[in-house]
């Protein structure tokens, strides 16, 4: 992938946020953004600021909840946690992405004769 970073597909950021919260538990916006950057090995083009539009969208859909709290450095921060319906959504999206990735993998692996190489 060299220098250019991956552009995020519509909706992928939402899944990443949900997954991060599912695995790490309640976390503030900065934490989520950093975590995604780290996990993606800095391959994802992410302006940290864009995370907040995703967070408010997920919140309005009832998939995550938010609460003000104190961070590990004693700083006031808004903590997000995944809700029950958010987990359901995550399961659904995970299945979807797995299937899509598998199909894309097969299609792109196709050779001239139309079979697998």
């Amino acid at each position: 992938m060299g220098e250019s970073k991956l552009d995020l597909l519509q909706g992928t950021l939402d899944v990443m946020v949900l997954q991060t919260l599912e695995v790490l538990g309640p976390l503030h916006g900065y934490g989520i953004a950093r975590r995604i950057e780290q996990v993606s090995g800095n391959e994802v083009l992410l302006n940290q600021g864009t995370i907040y539009a995703s967070l408010v969208r997920l919140q309005q859909r009832g998939w995550i909840a938010a609460q003000w709290g104190i961070s590990e450095n004693n700083r006031k921060a808004k903590f997000y946690s995944i809700t029950k319906s958010g987990r359901k959504r995550l399961a659904h999206d995970t299945a979807y992405w797995r299937r899509l990735a598998a199909v894309m993998g097969r299609v792109l692996a196709m050779d001239d004769e139309g079979g697998k190489n």
């Binding site: 302006n47 600021g49 539009a53 921060a77």
Partner: protein, 882 residues
């Protein structure tokens, strides 16, 4: 998915923008601090750490906007922004706003009012169940007399039995005069109007009783106990809406009548069948009582489901010629025909053209309003082009600026509509209570859903119309043009001026068409008012007289003589006379023919309007006796059958000879012709007079009621009291009937025309005013922009009068172009309203000439004011200010 939930949150967020923004700011601040701290821990200097944090974050403002878009209603946000900005701008330029809203309110209000009338009379169904199945039946080629629009009781009954197309056919007695009954109760007898309706009339219309019940078959037989149904307004007015009225008896003209029910509020007999008339109650039309009275039932039928009007008409063409005039006399050849018209078309058909003309006229007003506003907005745009240039330079897209302009137009249009709606509401509630205007259904005019929807449509269309021109102008020119054009240059941008001129020319042309239309209608109206009615309505007045003659002819003659004599002696009264019928009110015809050698055939009889009159009536009405003499009291006392005929009868029966002394067969008996009077317009000022005859109240010609007509130098109001006092002295039971000027009968007959002339005239005036505003606006704007140029010219020696002349020349050039186009358009359009004109050609030269002069003068005036302003420009000041 949780769509409703998300929508709810979005709407909620939209209204909580401020707290949400604050919370987001806190969150972003804490994000940046945490990022900075982490960078410092990694060994950066505080400044670098902060910069790095900001870089990684991306644009803060961008993030905020993304947040807003994700959580709220972004489209509405923009709209609110535009609205806030619009309100700020409009508030700042309140003068412009006021003028714009006022002009729009007038234009839109006029449109709403006219649309409501059109909606009620033309578009909305009649207020009856399945009213499109209701049919009115009249003779083919009916004359103006009601007799050719009615049928006898026997013919009606036969048709009811023979036809297979109608679920039911019924009718009402068409010759009821106003105040034909008197209600006797507490205090003075009250004159009331009662309509006789045949069996099944209300059932045919689909009207249910509001209280009690409708008539039953048993109540339509001879000697049935008398019953009555009350109209809603009469019940409210006379009985205070008493719910126990059903079952009570009232005294109607000395008969005890049981009230069996009250009709609903929505049923207004007068507004459908007899425009401008008030009806108080309904009583059964008992066929057996009317078998020998000739044509008197106006028929309405309800088609069976699935039967088309055409099929019913084909059947009627078979049946009607066979119908008998009277069962007892099968030898009377009735020669009936039946023409079926959907009731709605029968009621409003004649008005269709007038109303469409009216509709077009207000449409033109709206166009003029839009053109005017376009112009106003254009000059505003020119003044604001710097602002727009600035906003554009700051990154506002063209689409956004267009949207801003359109938002402004919309706000103006909606404000105009709101005021227009108020204006229309008051106009309509005034109109709906004008009983004196003989237009059908007028009392039912109101603002309903249709009208509101059309108002909204009008507002949007108007906004788009007048908002587009400036918008086009915006998108046509580029930014630099805008900025350049806005500079205080020496003269106005060419392109700009041309568009504005074109708009003004359009406006003037439209105004021309309106003025010509109004002029033609006004000339027609004046012709109608000027028509020789055959009597002089001025200074004459009539009152319905009640008396009890016990059906004795001699007694009646004595009573009539006493009334006439005593009325003539009232100070101020010149002459008095009695007739049982007045022109332009009730409408009844018999037959007349000359007595010849052979027995007269039916076809020899001429249908003739009948007036049973006392001596003095002709004089009191101001009619002209051309030959012979008036009826005398001796004729009545001696029971002499004499007749006075009008010119039409004389010409038809005794062409080229003097009819005096000849014998006529009139009203079923021989009568000697003793006089000839000038023709009287008996149904309306615009209808050609027909045959008329005047008979004495002898045994054969028994009158139906009596109207005392007095002619006086005094105004009717001054006479009302002494006349009533005299009548009460003669008969204490005289009801408090209205003392009506004869002129009011004429006015009533000409009221639809006056109504249209008035409205079209108002619209033309409005159009003229708006057009002159338009001219003034454009010229005065041009003068303001050319101040410097004018200043230079004056400095170079142009005189004030030359400057004035130049401005006025420019004005007249615009005006003449507009008048020329308007003239041609009017010529083309005037033919379309030819059928609405009376005694006026659609190319009436005085009207067209008057229009040219009027518009020329208005243009001159509109140009003169800016011209004077231009000539007062001080070159020194004008040049220095640049």
């Amino acid at each position: 998915m949780s769509l409703p939930r998300e929508a709810f949150h979005r709407i909620r967020s939209f209204f909580r923008n401020d707290p949400l923004d604050r919370e987001l700011n806190n969150e972003l601040a804490s994000h940046l601090e945490m990022a900075t701290e982490e960078n410092i821990r990694r060994g950066m200097s505080p400044d670098d750490a902060r910069r790095e944090a900001l870089v990684r974050f991306g644009g803060i403002q961008q993030s905020r906007e993304q947040h807003r878009d994700a959580r709220g209603l972004p489209l509405l946000d923009v709209l609110m922004q535009d609205l806030r900005f619009t309100f700020r701008t409009l508030k700042r330029e309140w003068g412009f706003t006021l003028v714009a809203v006022l002009i729009l309110a007038l234009g839109i209000g006029a449109n709403i009012a006219v649309f409501s009338v059109v909606n009620t009379i033309l578009l909305r169904p009649l207020p009856f169940r399945d009213s499109e199945r209701l049919v009115r039946i009249v003779e083919k080629n009916p004359s103006t007399g009601e007799s050719t629009k009615t049928y006898t009781a026997d013919a009606t009954q036969d048709f009811q039995q023979l036809n297979t197309s109608f679920r039911s056919v019924s009718g009402y007695f068409a010759f009821t005069g106003p105040d034909n009954l008197k209600l006797i109760g507490n205090g003075q007898p009250l004159p009331v109007t009662g309509i006789l309706v045949a069996e099944g009339f209300f059932q045919t219309l689909g009207v249910e009783a509001r209280l009690g019940r409708l008539f039953r078959s048993g109540e339509f037989v001879k000697h049935a106990p008398p019953v009555a149904l009350l109209s809603y307004p009469f019940w409210k007015r006379q009985f205070n809406g008493d719910s126990h009225i059903v079952g009570r008896t009232i005294d109607l003209s000395n008969t005890s009548v049981t009230v069996i029910g009250v009709l609903p509020d929505t049923f207004d007999f007068g507004s459908v069948f007899s425009p401008g008339a008030k009806v108080d109650l309904f009583v059964p039309y008992i066929m057996d009582d009317f078998r020998e009275d000739g044509n008197d039932l106006a028929l309405v039928g309800r088609l069976k489901p699935g039967v088309t009007l055409g099929a019913a008409q084909r059947e009627a063409d078979q049946i009607f010629p066979q119908l008998l005039f009277e069962h007892k006399h099968p030898e009377f050849k009735a020669g009936y025909t039946g023409h079926l018209t959907i009731l709605k078309d029968y009621v409003s058909g004649k008005l269709r053209r007038s109303l469409i003309v009216l509709w077009c006229a207000v449409g033109m007003i709206l166009l003029i309003v839009c053109v005017n506003l376009s112009n106003l907005l254009l000059s505003r745009l020119a003044a604001r082009s710097k602002e727009f240039g600035m906003r554009s330079a700051l990154g506002a897209g063209r689409g956004r600026l267009m949207r801003q302009l359109l938002t402004e137009s919309m706000v103006l249009a909606l404000a105009g509509s709101a005021f227009g709606l108020g204006l229309a509401y008051f106009t309509l509630s005034y109109l709906a209570h004008q009983g004196s205007i003989a237009l059908p259904l007028l009392s039912m005019v109101r603002i309903d859903g249709n009208v509101l929807a059309s108002t909204l449509l009008i507002a949007v269309v108007a906004a788009v119309l007048f908002g587009t021109a400036p918008g086009l102008r915006m998108s046509a020119g580029n930014l630099q043009d805008l900025l350049k054009d806005s500079g205080p240059g020496l003269s106005e941008g060419r392109k700009h001026g041309r568009l504005r001129s074109a708009l003004v020319i359009t406006e003037i042309s439209l105004a021309c068409i309106l003025v010509v239309g109004a002029g033609l209608l006004l000339r027609s109206f004046l012709r109608v008012v000027d028509v020789d009615l055959g009597f002089e309505p001025g200074r004459a007045a009539a009152i319905t007289v009640d008396y009890d003659d016990g059906r004795n002819v001699a007694r009646r003659a004595a009573i009539w003589q006493e009334i006439v004599n005593r009325a003539s002696m009232i100070p101020g009264v010149e002459t008095a006379g009695i007739s049982d019928n007045l022109p332009m009110s009730r409408n009844r015809s018999w037959g007349i023919t000359a007595k010849g050698q052979q027995k007269a055939k039916d076809s020899d009889f001429l249908p003739v309007f009948v007036y049973i009159v006392s001596p003095g009536y002709l004089k009191a009405m101001g009619m002209r006796l051309l030959e012979g003499r008036d009826i005398s009291w001796h004729d009545i006392v001696d029971n002499r059958n004499v007749v006075i005929i009008n010119e039409t009868v004389a010409r038809r029966l005794w062409p080229g000879q003097s009819p005096i002394g000849r014998t006529a067969l009139a009203g079923g008996t021989e009568a000697q012709v003793i006089g000839v009077v000038a023709d009287v317009r008996e149904t309306g000022a615009e209808d050609k007079p027909g045959a008329q005859m005047y008979l004495p109240p002898t045994k054969q010609f028994g009158p139906e009621g009596a109207n005392l007509v007095v002619r006086s130098k005094l105004p009717p109001a001054a006479l009302a009291k002494p006349v009533m006092k005299t009548l009460r002295e003669i008969n204490p039971a005289q009801p408090a009937t209205e003392f009506k000027p004869i002129q009011s009968l004429v006015d009533h007959a000409t009221s639809p025309r006056r109504f249209f002339v008035l409205l079209v005239g108002i619209f033309a005036g409005l159009g003229l005013l708006l057009a002159s505003l338009g001219i003034y606006g454009v010229i005065s704007y041009a003068v303001t922009r050319q101040r410097a140029e004018i200043g230079i010219r004056m400095a170079l020696g142009a005189t004030a009068s030359l400057v004035q002349f130049n401005v006025i020349r420019n004005t007249l050039r615009l005006a003449l172009a507009g008048i020329f186009i308007g003239f041609l358009a009017s010529l083309a359009i005037a033919h379309l309203i030819a059928s609405l004109l009376f005694g006026t050609s659609p190319t009436d030269p005085p009207t067209f000439g008057g229009m040219v002069i009027l518009l020329g003068l208005v243009a001159l005036l509109a140009g003169y004011l800016p011209a004077r302003k231009a000539s007062k420009i001080d070159p020194m000041i004008a040049l220095r200010s640049n």
